[in-house]
Amino acid sequence: MGIDRRSFISLVAGGVAGSLFTPVIWKSLDDVSIWTQNWPWIPRLQYGEEAKVPALCKLGADAYGMKVKTVAGRPVAAEGDADHPLSQGGICPLGAASVHMLYSPSRVKNPKLKDGSSFKDISWEEAEDLLAGKLKEAGAGVAMISGDETGSVTDVLAGLVGKAGSDKTFLMPGESAPAAAALAMIGGDGQVGYDIENASYVLLLGADALGSWGNVARNGKAFGASREKGVKFVYAGPAQNGTSAVCDSWVPCAPGTEAVLALGLAAVISAGGRDRASWPGYADFAKFVQSAYAPEKVSEITGVSVDVIKGLAQELVRTGRPLVLTAAGAGQGLGAFEMAAGMSLNLLLERVNTVGGVRILPWSPKVVESAPEKKALLAADLAGYLTSVADGATEAPALLMVHAANPAYAMPNLAKAQAAIDKAGFVVSFSSFMDETAAMADLIMPDCYAFERLDDAYSPYGSGQPNYTVAGSIIKPVYDTKPAGDVILSVAAKAGLELGFETFEDVVKAKAEALGADFDAMVEGTPWLGEEFPAQDLALWATPLKEIPVAAKDGKSLALAPASQLKVGSAKVAIPPFNTNAIRFDEMLGKDMYVLMNGATAKNLGVKKDDAVKLSAAAGECKARVRIFEGVMNDTVVAPLGFGHTAWDDFSRGKGDNVYKLLAAEAEGETGLSRFATARVTVSKA
């Protein structure tokens, strides 16, 4: 029997019919449908034991304990730590995004050496040898900048610089320095904190306490508790914000003049009937404020009516435990004298170094012998130094080391700061991310990210009680990075500048021992809390009194109110990739950021909603769009900090403009600290 056409068709037909009784078709269809769901770019869940591990968040200006949820040892989410005094279960927007940042496209994945206009990868051994060589060459021409004022890595880095014979050790601008200097002006010595939980009336003079200032998570918890306790929160500032929205009242006050309001309140209170003649320095102080800061004059400067000034003064006097928090709207830029104005108001109300008032905490113990005292570290003014270097008045450092800081982005006198960094002989960045400063550096020795290293924090600014937190690593380094503390110690040894410690863990253990804290307990999530507050001998004031300089109104320019929002980053970090979704339609238009002004101000300027404008100041210019918001004072423009990055990643780069460009710093006579909270800008159509 041969195979003819008919037989062949029959064979095939039989085969097809038979296949219907097999799984071939049905199983294939099913599996193909599953196959279409298995694209390689679809992420897979990783299963394993779930745990909550103590960690530290230092992405904002604050440092606080939080819990990181891990699955099979891999961090997947962050949440507040109910047992940590600075979290109390709360978390800030950057803390919430902290796990995502572990895998940020901005991470520097290995040591890099500048090669022309780009970088080439080098090994850790090469990087350490190179830095050790530069240290030997530089001698005492070494300088350092740190953005971590609570951690011991700063002590180690400052110790290395000190060991090399240099005193060029600087912290990024913040409010710890002017607050400490302000405390010194009234005879105190220590770190300034605020016992916000136990106050019965809280006056926030410029402090965006519920949005970006101080211990944000803790402030929020204190505010929440205050609702049940009947504690009144009053916010004085130039524009409505998240803090003013929930406070019991908002007192519109021109930006940067909150300290003037404080002295005006002091004038009214001191003019009251109470006899304080026996108080050290009181007579001169009362005479000064009553003559220089009469309510009418204060009203003229601040925009706060005389009646409101007198009403606030009465509330402060009548309340049992009032607390005044003085701060710049952006959390930086006040001079010591301005801080002291707020401090003196607390002193006048007998609210310094007492429960529910301003608390004076002991300084962090010094464990690295060659490092400067914390007080000395805070007194060194970075903006002034960089400006001086840029102007040629101070010799540029032969070696500049930058840790946890981004001075090429977040400094007043920004152009001069960048010029100074550019003039430095050799710049080393320990940044975990490709920030603007790392992009300018000659060598990047990437620090492990927060969850990949041991880290510590002693009493962040604003803490109402001495505290010390230590967090261990949660995960092995995702990339080829090393903890900066260990790298610095290793390099120091190679350069013959031994600091007395072999590992960074030894440094932290020494600090824990100095405090009487249990290192192991802290690593497991129990922070150390101190109960001792050093006694103070305070007076009103120990420094000559003078009027606070305020930029004069000229009828053309507007008062600039820089505003910080943690969701778009901080001085340390750019917009976390996942937080881009949190930028609202009324905060950005395309890639332009909005600046806010009220309708009357816009009308005077001849601009309307969505107009492209240019903000000009002596220090620089910014581009933005106009948004009309009636929650802004007259002749005031609110500009957001956190935009305008030129490095980092696609999620943050090229969005908006950098408002730091508008901030011009001037040196304060007595302290030498830079003040830049009062700036005026002209706004014109772009």
Binding site: S7, F8, S10, L11, S19, F21, P23, V24, I34
Partner: protein, 179 residues
């Protein structure tokens, strides 16, 4: 005419039978690749010789989740160093424990990520209702991987879940398994 009938019927039957044979015998061989576990884990040695209980390695955590396959952390208590003469044990110690590398065990019943399966909700059932009875095996069974879907041949299909739920009166609502 009779010749013509056989020319049609016989090839049809041959095609039918051949197709059925190939479909049931040949197709699975083509569809599934065969894999062996990275380490030949001998359950018998552990269960019978060492008198270990299943729960020593496959336990519920405090939060009710199931540990599933053990990690090196479970094993290093005994296997920090090589204990016996089994070459696979030696390989486990030198290539995984000492290198701090986890064994990529092949799971016979892993469900897709869009399926939420709770072991503790099924703890009344015998493990062997769904899993091979590996406790009696000196060598783990061969793992058959579906070349198209990528899943194990033994991965339970949705109809099997639904059938059991229906028979036992458990809910078959979507959200029971698809959160």
């Amino acid at each position: 005419m009779a010749k013509c009938k056989s020319c049609v019927v016989l090839p049809f039957l041959i095609g039918l039978v051949a197709s059925i044979v190939l479909g049931w015998w040949g197709f699975p061989k083509v569809l599934y690749s065969q894999k062996t576990q990275p380490i030949r884990f001998d359950h018998v040695v552990h269960v019978e010789d060492q008198a270990m209980a299943c729960e020593d390695c496959h336990a519920f955590r405090e939060d009710g989740s199931f540990t599933g396959l053990p990690t090196n952390a479970n094993c290093v208590g005994c296997h920090e160093d090589v204990q016996g003469e089994d070459p696979d044990e030696a390989r486990f110690v030198t290539e995984y424990v000492q290198q701090e590398k986890e064994v990529e065990w092949l799971a016979y019943q892993t469900q897709p990520d869009n399926v939420y399966f709770s072991h503790i909700a099924h703890k009344e059932l015998e493990c062997t209702s769904c899993h091979p009875d590996v406790a009696k095996m000196k060598t783990p069974p061969v793992y058959h991987e579906n070349r198209l879907s990528g899943y194990s041949k033994d991965t339970m299909k949705m109809w099997q879940c639904e059938e059991c739920h229906a028979k036992t009166g458990a809910s078959n609502a979507c959200f029971v398994c698809h959160k």
